[in-house]
């Protein structure tokens, strides 16, 4: 009945609201912050996020198998040429918008009263962040995409340094410099594409690209824009900023960073590759090499690094790199099935990873530490959080339940025939990150593992977050997210996916979306359990087994750690290397 009621609304009217409402609320909050009583920003922000989520969902339903187009300022295209800025919302973009709104609502509940003394400044920044993300999802104009990209970045920079501890400031500086460079690259790429296509509308640029043939200007534009989005999406070798920033941001902010911001970079790249660059044979040649290659490396490297961490948020940050790599592989398949898998994966991963960061926040608040070793056995009093963490770890590893698995399953299905190595990398990524989380859960909540004794590698600063809210208030949003991930039926996704992907890619990607094989998920879960058990019980294993493993591991491990030096100069050099790599692949494609 609700659906029939909604269908009677004029579809397009709602499109600007998910962006405009948070902007209006945040500006009004800023103007009146000093007059408002204590909890008002919390309440307003939560309601706003829920409204955004609801509106996006309605638009997604209305879009159906097509898309809802909206032209700002009433500037409809004339003679097929776009004059103003348009939003184009297909079902996939709309549902991802709804997911982002839900994630924010959960985060606002999680952070209830956490930022009380700041005159709503935290909420202002978060609402701006929300509006920018929705704009990023909905827009069909390349420069408008850049504007939202930058608004997102600027809000994120300020939020990262919120604690004003030494490490968070330096993390924020690294984040700011690298992501500013991403913005400049993107703008340069936009300039090149504009010079060739003479418009900024996605559809117009797509025509220009298809018309240009093999053209260094188009290739250069793609290289710059894709590099910018891959920096946002933390792909190797652009990934360095992520661990520095996500590990030090306040937990509620980390939830958004890992749950939505990083995957939005990949989402934007998927949209642009399909909608704008599909007409260029050169770029279509290069995408599988680049995206599958770099994605597979990210998946394995991120997972490995996650396994090496004992700072819980840093561990989760590296696991985000790994999963972003898995999503990137989905772009590289250039198939409807791969893209469907990627889109579902974005939502599933966001829910699970957001929940995990909330658990890290709970530990910071109630146990005053984020160090896995120092927390050993300290989680016994908060068993519900332990159960949630174990469930989230299993879901992350690929337990065949829920949304994340549906996405992974579709991805696996698109990889089995053509890209066996990439399939292996996705399984390894899931196993490694799942193992890291399960190991931490076992150590913190069950007191497993050896007693460390040495404190050499302990996190440098005594970190803690304010514990002024009851446990259930922090745990409830986390459980809601995990429950949503587990509850959404795969059949619904499978029914919606083919039409949604066709609309998402403007008919560039078509084809069957079928269930993938089940064994990769089980392989990944088994790997995760095995690795976690090995890490927790290796002091009980005979030296004969442990010794060689440790010996073969140590040199590459140290090299990896040295690469993540935390020095901004290194990151800039790696950025140039990545750019050169992409240019090289494009040149030989």
């Amino acid at each position: 009945m609700i659906a029939s009621l909604l269908a009677s609304w004029p579809p397009a009217v709602l499109v600007p609201l998910p962006v405009a409402i948070p902007l209006l609320v945040c500006a009004a909050l800023l103007a009146t912050a000093h007059l408002l009583p204590g909890r008002t920003p919390d309440i307003l922000a939560t309601i706003t996020a829920l409204v955004v989520s609801g509106l996006s969902a309605i638009i997604a339903v209305q879009a159906g198998d097509g898309s809802v187009d909206y032209w700002f300022g009433g500037w409809q295209p004339r003679d097929g040429i776009a004059l103003g800025i348009g939003f184009s919302v297909d079902a996939a973009s709309g549902w991802i918008g709804a997911f982002i709104g839900f994630l924010y609502a959960c985060t606002f509940v999680f952070a209830w009263g956490f930022f009380a003394r700041t005159h709503g400044h935290f909420h202002i920044l978060m609402l701006l962040f929300l509006a920018a993300m929705i704009g990023f999802c909905f827009t069909r104009d390349l420069f408008n995409l850049f504007v939202w990209f930058e608004v997102m970045s600027v809000a994120a920079f300020a939020l990262t340094a919120y604690h004003l501890a030494r490490s968070s400031i330096i993390g924020a500086i690294n984040f700011t410099v690298v992501n500013s460079l991403a913005g400049f690259l993107m703008l340069g790429g936009i300039g090149l594409l504009y010079a060739r296509a003479e418009t900024l509308d996605f559809a117009g640029i797509a025509q220009g690209v298809a018309h240009a043939g093999r053209d260094p200007v188009v290739a250069g534009g793609f290289c710059l824009v894709a590099a910018a989005l891959m920096i946002k999406g933390a792909t190797v070798p652009f990934q360095f900023w992520l661990a520095d920033a996500h590990a030090v941001a306040p937990s509620p902010v980390s939830v958004i960073f890992s749950g939505a911001m990083v995957s939005l970079g990949i989402f934007g790249l998927a949209k642009l590759s399909a909608v704008v660059f599909d007409g260029s044979a050169q770029i279509r040649e290069a995408i599988p090499v680049l995206m599958i290659g770099l994605g597979a490396i990210s998946a394995v490297l991120g997972g490995w690094m996650a396994l090496l961490q004992r700072h819980l948020k840093r561990l989760l940050a590296f696991s985000t790199i790994s999963h972003a790599g898995i999503m990137l592989i989905g772009i590289g398949t250039l198939s409807a099935q791969g893209s469907a898998g990627l889109l579902v994966y974005v939502v599933g991963h966001g829910l699970v990873k957001g929940g995990l960061f909330m658990i890290a926040g709970i530990l910071l608040a109630t146990r005053a530490s984020i160090d896995e070793i120092a927390l050993r056995g300290l989680g016994r009093g908060i068993a519900p959080a332990g159960v949630a963490m174990a469930v989230a770890g299993l879901l992350l590893a690929g337990l065949p339940v829920g949304l994340l698995d549906t996405g992974a399953n579709l991805l696996h299905g698109s990889l089995t025939a053509a890209h066996p190595y990439a399939l292996a990398a996705t399984i390894a990524g899931g196993a490694l990150t799942g193992a890291a989380v399960l190991r931490a859960a076992g150590r913190i909540f069950l007191g497993l593992g050896e007693d460390p004794g040495d404190e050499a590698g302990a996190p440098s600063e005594a970190e803690r977050e304010k514990a002024d809210r009851p446990l259930w208030l922090m745990l409830a949003p986390c459980c809601a997210m995990l429950a949503l991930d587990a509850a959404l039926p795969a059949s619904w996704i499978h029914g919606m996916a083919p039409g949604a992907v066709t609309a998402f890619s403007h008919h560039a990607l078509r084809g069957m979306v079928s269930e993938g094989p089940a064994w990769p998920a089980w392989a990944s879960v088994a790997g995760a359990l095995g690795l976690a058990a090995f890490a927790l019980f290796r002091h009980r294993l005979p030296r004969l087994v442990v010794g060689p493993i440790r010996a073969t591991q140590s040199a590459p491990t140290r090299a990896l750690e040295a690469l993540h030096s935390g020095l901004i100069g290194d990151y800039v050099a790696w950025l140039a290397v990545g750019l050169a790599l992409m240019a090289g692949v494009l040149a030989y494609a």
Binding site: F143, V147, E150, V154, F157, A158, A161, L164, R166, S167, I169, I170, G171, A172, I173, N174, T176, V177, S180, L181, G183, F184, L187, G188, I190, G191, Y194, A195, L200, D244, A247, V248, L308, Q309, R310, H311, R314, L315, D371, E455, A456, G457, A458, P459, S460, E461, T557, R558, E561, H564, S565, G566, L567, I568, G569, D570, V572, A573, L575, A576
Partner: protein, 130 residues
Amino acid sequence: MTWLPYAVAAWLFAIGLYGLASSRNLIHLVGCLSVCQSATYVLLLGLGYRYGSIAPIFYDHPPGTPAVDPVMQALVLTDIVVGATLSALLLVLTVQAYKRSGTLDPEHLKPMSRGGDKAAPATSAKHPAR
């Protein structure tokens, strides 16, 4: 010489990257970032220029007079705002970093000790005394 503006843009970006990689002072580093950004101004405005055209303001000239591309100018305007915001934020972070650690040298500023790396020297994790 038709390539000169674009070459200048590329040069500015490259020299800015060099500055970022080699900088030993965070304030200097922020300046280098703004040089990287000026590359985008030059590129965009270079692409929007046409010989013999007026500025896109039809006050002294009637509409219809050939004018340069106003879209690029609008984009660069936004870009300049981006530049100002980034500089301001980074300078704030720089000032705060200095107050926390007493140095502006990025080589001495590391975000946090390596979590799992037992081999890392523990001293790097300590706060420099203020």
